[in-house]
Amino acid sequence: MTHSAIIPRVSIQTEDFDLSTEVAQLRNGLPGVGAVCSFVGTVRDRNEGSSVSAMELEHYPGMTESSIEAMIDQAMDRFDILGARVIHRVGLLQPLDQIVLVAVISAHRGQSFQACEFLMDYLKSHAPFWKKEQTPEGARWVDARVSDDAASARWGLPAQLQTGG
């Protein structure tokens, strides 16, 4: 029994989030939960050899939410988990800011660990977000990483960086 009707599974927001609050809501009323695994992504002050003073996150409203919902559906199918919560911030962010939360609950730890990594790898290479960094050399779009494709390939997910357009 999960409680997806009570709290949303996916939130795209400009506001910050509180990990403890989110985990408490996710666990609420589910005595069968024995494991919570969460990942929080934060803004670094350096990338690709430059200092980063700020980061602007753009997304595709509508598709962002529906694609992450579909990823959570897949995670629920693949792993023995009881629920998941994803929050992704958009807009202007500074170094030290939180960007993304993935939290998963299950009866035992193995499935939560795996599902959390699966969701994060999937999101990185398939959810429609784009980062633009402010650096001393000017603003630049962040390039997609081959290593992110390799991470999602572990789960049998398609690569996004195939050659050609």
Binding site: V100, H126, A127, P128, W130, W141
Partner: protein, 83 residues
């Protein structure tokens, strides 16, 4: 038929606009891209096949072979970099 086109991130900046609506007879996403490329100018540069571009049809990732229904929403964007 009419299609609604959206551009994001570096593609949006290169085209110079975030969205446009077009009358087209293109049967597929790829044929629509060809039609936009044929306009030349910023469209020609932004959607060039030498660029890494991902596409979505009605908000689901799609390839160029995907068939265009009437009233479709087609999006062009660079590889994603969230998380």
């Amino acid at each position: 038929m009419r299609v609604h086109i959206k551009y994001f991130a570096s593609i949006r900046e290169a085209v110079g606009q975030g969205a446009e609506t077009l009358e087209t007879s293109a049967a597929t996403v790829g044929a629509l891209r060809d039609e936009l490329l044929a306009k030349g100018g910023t469209h020609g540069e932004a959607l060039a096949r030498t660029r890494a571009i991902r596409m979505a049809l009605n908000q689901v990732m799609a390839d160029e072979e995907a068939t265009l229904p009437d009233g479709a929403e087609v999006a062009f964007f660079p590889p994603v970099t969230g998380g």
